[in-house]
Symmetry: C2
Amino acid sequence: MSNWHGTVTPPALARLLRTARLPEPIGSHRPAYRALAGQVQQLISEGRLPVGTRMPAERELATALTLSRTTIATAYETLRTEGYLRSRRGSGSWTALPEGSRPPGDALFPLPPEEHGQVIDLGVAAPPAPQQLLAEAAAHAVELLPAYAGGHGHYPSGVPVLREAVAQRFSERGLPTTPDQILITTGAMSALDLVRRTLVRPGERVAVETPSYAHVLQALRSGGVRLVPVPQRREGPEQLPDWDLDEWQRVLRGAAPKLAYVIPDFHNPTGTLIDERQRRELLAAARAAGTVVLADETMAELAWNTPEPPRPTAALDRSAQVVTVGSAGKLAWGGLRVGWVRAAPALIRQLANERVHHDIATPVLEQLICATLIGERLTEMRSLRLEQLRASAGALLPALRERLPQWRFAEPNGGMTLWIDTGGLSGAALARAGERTGVRIAAGSRFGVDGAFEGYVRLPLTVPPAAAAETAERLAATVALADRDGRAAWPGEVTALAV
Amino acid sequence: MSNWHGTVTPPALARLLRTARLPEPIGSHRPAYRALAGQVQQLISEGRLPVGTRMPAERELATALTLSRTTIATAYETLRTEGYLRSRRGSGSWTALPEGSRPPGDALFPLPPEEHGQVIDLGVAAPPAPQQLLAEAAAHAVELLPAYAGGHGHYPSGVPVLREAVAQRFSERGLPTTPDQILITTGAMSALDLVRRTLVRPGERVAVETPSYAHVLQALRSGGVRLVPVPQRREGPEQLPDWDLDEWQRVLRGAAPKLAYVIPDFHNPTGTLIDERQRRELLAAARAAGTVVLADETMAELAWNTPEPPRPTAALDRSAQVVTVGSAGKLAWGGLRVGWVRAAPALIRQLANERVHHDIATPVLEQLICATLIGERLTEMRSLRLEQLRASAGALLPALRERLPQWRFAEPNGGMTLWIDTGGLSGAALARAGERTGVRIAAGSRFGVDGAFEGYVRLPLTVPPAAAAETAERLAATVALADRDGRAAWPGEVTALAV
């Protein structure tokens, strides 16, 4: 049984292999087939090579890596024996995990509940709920439930009160919106997945900022879609990046992608806020190329370090070419799993028809809760959230600067994440060391395409101020461990595979 | 912008066209291009040709229908002008709906809330909630929420208490199950979609019973999967069908599908219960073919007409080859959107990793509600539901027999649906007439592959007993209207397109 995660081409696999470092072998020299098998195993374990990816044919990989066919064949056989590869006669080989394995050592995959509390989880950038507000909104929603419970409870476009509340919020932010321009989904991830599924066909391209939100990059790759990365432009690791409009122009003209996926408002992971001038330029270039701009506003309300947040990107849109996705996750709570799409009514109807065949509709109770939280309780909730983010950043950033001076970062404009240049230390190595020091870290390579950003990590601004010092302490211990293990050198080190 | 719904081949389109009847033309003879355009428009409007389907090239369709190229070209141009076709130079043409259209006259798509109460909705076979029980379970869940709200709320595999409750229920039914064999999803539809996405690659085949649940047939077609229909076997319209094992053997051996999707327990739409002997035979044949059996248990607890429901299909499984999908929708309430997958732990982990990129997780509050409803309140809830189904069937079936003696059906073993042979009247014609008599009807052709079951309709057993007579009355009026409109003759009538 294999996932359809696509195929990794020989050049892409070669690039990935360059990012997988093994510890020094004990005793005699490590044979090349063992080095290759070890590196592939590492990539799979870390989730950088997804389970169910089809591996290149042995002959092609031998050419790409300039190794003998026997070396490749023996490496594949080793992986098969150890459970990291499954083959079907005449069909090829797919990556796998051995029976009994945990999910890939993947800090972006939430810790199983039984492990909560044992480690400091810096992998998932999602906040705890505003307890009192949530409890009140939930109790109120339960009172409203009987009005819905007499029917079948399926609302593929969303319950009307929430569509109205979401439309109202857009209007308040400077983008007049009616409820028929809104579709409610089960979180922003569902919304992005639905848009991709509806607008992009296998083999077509989606342009993405890099870095970008790791899970979305993976979701966008589904169904045979090709990602075209457009690196953000930055002057140095202590400046916030912005868009490289020259590169965007080149990509839009040259690759004619169906979609351009961007997070202009408090970007995940860099926390940057793109100014209106750059947004207009991107829209103009996208319009010329016939590309739909998919604007992710999941962080847009988290303006804790920006006095005047800008209007929504779609407010600059003259030709119904911007599709906006938002959610209640970062403002209220990710456990509610409520998101939305804002688009032209015809596309909203099309999306509703499409989602009926995937999850039918979003649960009713959560929608009622969100209608309260982003409606009459919005001001209260946002104040709480911004206060929490300011406090978290206010304690964590200084603590990091003190205990880890070699780590460089820019203070974000807002949002919920901190993007850190580790000064040469592999993010994946840190993540591995963190498994021993009791801290889960999101390695930067997950936020790029093809192994970029290896020397970065992402931290969430959800650490309570009281835990900032301990968190910085544990991170420092993790750095020391990773250094000592000799997995530190990056980049440029020559390995046994001179690719 | 187009949905990736795939391509309709010339032969498949020809078959569909045979099922689309137009009323007699007024005045002079209708030109062939107008007949063709009218039939395509009807198929799109009824949802039998999905929006976003790529149409055959004009040349190929001309050959398949034995019509001139000019006729096809003019038909396509007519459809384009009227908004039912969109073309891209050099790329082809896709079906569409004109701007401002409602979703296809599709009784399986829930009525927009503003139309609730104006019509008798017999399209969606999903029950109202057990009000008191739901309110109590929801209030209890809100009390438990604070224990979860302090964390990020993302549980890709499901909250532990619900995984335990679902596992416990399987064990009670005779299939020992541990929580690590359970994944919680946002409804059974999400579960089926996730399994398809994880196990089946584009171009591969899934064998399905026909008839089967319409939305699932559509979901399984996603991603370029090919459906291989295996018609149920029945002696007459007043007998319940069962499986045609000879046909299953042929299909499994010949087509080697990756999945076989079956609803053995109170089938949707026929209500039939497959006996243990037939299940064993299917499993043996599937094992020999390497096919995974995907058993849909969404109706399995609805044993209102069966004293001793059988053990779950997976209890007969010796080689981890059965994947089971269930949900709380029919027993409790579809508005909760909670479903699950039961499978080997390794596959559960793989599914959890895959779903993270699609909807991340299922909302927490609904899971807590379901844990109560299918745990300590199960007996109570099930009694209520079975009582309601018995009462509904006990009133509706006699009312139908009295007012519509030409309609033939078998009394179901259980479940929530009634499958009716209309005695020659087109289900689609009835659905159209129902738009005028104020009753939404699910046309049988939606429950087959390639337009089969045109002469059938599906009714839900959710009609309150007090409404049975009125419902039968309105259905009789609908039949009279459809007959009078001359859209009745079926099958065998020769049209202008002699295909």
